[in-house]
């Protein structure tokens, strides 16, 4: 079992515009990834792009696993052209994971946009605890995995920026309304979140306001993914921490937003 392995592409399916679901078959034995973990993937063998790219584990299928990704630039664009049978070099699983549930906690999962990628995998492991799920996207087409959530017994509360499905507006505001309706909110509520920076910042404020605990999965440019380059840090109350090593999941109140 090695964290440096090759995997062959089983499927690389466009789910909506610019978004792809990649199913990989590791050619070696790999460790079972936990929700929040990520993989560093070589999208090509040439020197440009040079570095591997980080992607969260989306779903673990026993031996195969899935990545849900968006075409953001050069690397992901090349990745989207990979075909079944192609072989990719990968490092992982890497990083920490969403912490296991304490018995008395009620988890509120919050996903913004593609933040659903790790959140679905999380949902699969904790659905027995009947977590709540708040999930926002720009428009109803970009709401992915709704069926999967429902089949896990999780009925997500939904919002879209354009109001095309669920409430109109951003998901943190919807969550805020919910929490306000619960006043005083049970202190056993705990947020597990992933999404774009502005969402996470708003969520931090919310957590502060309602005095909630929570964990958020962060992103940062990465070179090694192993903790050696010190390139992927974020500022925390405890100094700079490496997203690839101490993260990507951080206690929400520890992250210092500039």
């Amino acid at each position: 079992m090695s964290r440096l392995f090759k995997a062959s592409v089983i499927e690389n399916r466009q789910v909506i515009k610019n978004h792809f679901l990649l199913t990989l078959h590791p050619l070696d034995n790999i460790g079972k990834p936990r929700p929040g973990n990520f993989f560093m993937i070589s999208v090509d063998n040439c020197l440009d792009p040079l570095l591997k790219r980080p992607f969260s584990i989306h779903r673990w299928l026993g031996r195969d696993f899935q990545i849900l990704y968006r075409v953001a630039g050069k690397g992901t664009s090349i990745l989207s052209n990979r075909k079944p049978g192609d072989t990719l070099e990968i490092i992982g699983p890497l990083g920490n994971a969403f912490p296991s549930l304490r018995s008395n906690n009620k988890i509120i999962m919050v996903a913004g946009g593609l933040g659903i990628a790790p959140i679905l995998g999380l949902a699969e492991t904790i659905n027995k605890y009947r977590p709540l799920c708040f999930y926002g996207a720009r428009t109803h087409e970009e709401l992915l995995c709704i069926d999967e959530l429902i089949s896990l017994g999780i009925e997500p509360v939904i919002s879209t920026d354009d109001g095309s499905l669920g409430e109109k507006g951003n998901i943190v505001d919807v969550l805020k309304k919910y929490l306000s309706s619960q006043l005083p909110p049970p202190p056993r509520f705990c947020l597990y979140a992933c999404g774009p920076g502005p969402m996470l910042i708003a969520l931090s404020d919310l957590a502060k306001t309602f005095n909630l605990k929570g964990y958020i999965a962060l992103e940062q440019n990465m070179a090694c993914g192993l903790g050696t380059c010190l390139g992927c840090v974020v500022n925390t109350t405890d100094g700079y921490k490496r997203v690839c090593r101490e993260g990507p999941v951080f206690p929400i109140n520890e992250v210092i937003w500039e």
Partner: protein
């Protein structure tokens, strides 16, 4: 086939080492490779006091390369000797410590303490372009540069490596000055200062604005500088800058390097160092080369 590499009094079992700052303190890579097989491990730059480093983002990718502005984050000398060195000592490989200071006295104190702690050699980082209070002044003002080396030289018996900056009009002058001042070995190149702008945010991709360019993009510059230095000085040269494969390593050796250091490639491929070592071995056996000394600096011109 003899892979032993003598860099003056520093004897390596083979010519492949790691470049400072790209291999942490070894531990993370021990999962992927047997550290005993490395010629040497050069650890991330160490300062007297802990340094917290630069704000994020600290790195970004560029064509065939990357920029970094880590800002020399490190836990400081004491922590290194207490936490990292004992682990590294478990392996049968040379441990070289890259050091940086804001004054000559700091460099001396670092060198003396590291000698006492039993490291195998010291690499003077006089060329990091990222920290204003860091070594950069030593790397660009040739008088202070010489003075630094001379003073550290007097205070340690450890093999002394001086790491040269490529951000200069004539690297030969610095190579010569390092040799004259008593450096046993020179290593080159450190990163080239660069910048990359995100046109959407209209900000630099690095919080520090500029950073150091490394990776294959800079290899032609590095090879040229190794060749220039080889023709200028007699001290052995550790060549680095964009080495990804054994072919690249051999290019540096032909240009004049006695050993090579692998940097950015470790990020791309955590077993790069040993892949390169294997490739060098098969090149040697394929070309009936008994010792790398036969190759160093033999590019035909």
């Amino acid at each position: 086939m003899n892979l032993t590499t003598n860099l003056g009094k520093l004897k390596l079992k083979n010519p492949v080492m790691t470049a400072s700052g790209t291999f942490g303190y070894g531990k993370e890579y021990s999962e992927f490779i047997d550290l005993n097989n490395l010629g040497a491990i050069v650890v991330k730059g160490i300062s007297l006091k802990p340094m917290k480093g630069n704000p994020d983002p600290r790195i970004c990718e560029t064509p065939c390369g990357m920029l970094n502005a880590i800002g020399l984050q490190n836990a400081g000398l004491k922590e290194f000797i207490k936490q990292q060195l004992p682990y590294l000592r478990n392996f049968n490989t040379k441990i070289i410590v890259n050091i940086l200071g804001t004054s000559i006295n700091e460099y001396i104190e670092l060198a003396e303490n590291l000698e006492a702690a039993g490291v195998d050699a010291i690499e003077l980082n006089v060329s990091c372009p990222n920290v204003k209070k860091g070594g950069i002044v030593f790397g660009t003002d040739i008088k202070i540069f010489e003075e630094l080396i001379r003073d550290v030289r007097r205070r340690t018996r450890l093999p002394l490596i001086t790491k040269l900056s490529p951000n200069t009009a004539d690297i030969k002058l610095f190579a010569k000055a390092a040799e004259d001042a008593g450096s046993d070995i020179i290593s080159l190149i450190n990163t080239i200062t660069g910048m990359s702008i995100n046109i959407k945010t209209r900000r630099s991709r690095l919080a520090n604005i500029t950073g150091g360019l490394s990776g294959p993009a800079i290899r032609p510059v590095a090879v040229r500088m190794v060749w220039e230095c080889f023709k200028t000085v007699k001290v052995p040269i550790i060549g680095m800058g964009g080495i990804i494969s054994a072919e690249d390593a051999i290019e540096f050796i032909l240009a004049g390097a006695s050993a090579v250091a692998v940097g950015t490639a470790n990020f791309v491929n955590p077993i790069a160092t040993l892949d390169i070592l294997e490739g060098i071995k098969s090149f040697m056996s394929g070309n009936n080369i008994k010792s790398l000394k036969e190759l160093t600096g033999t590019v035909k011109c």
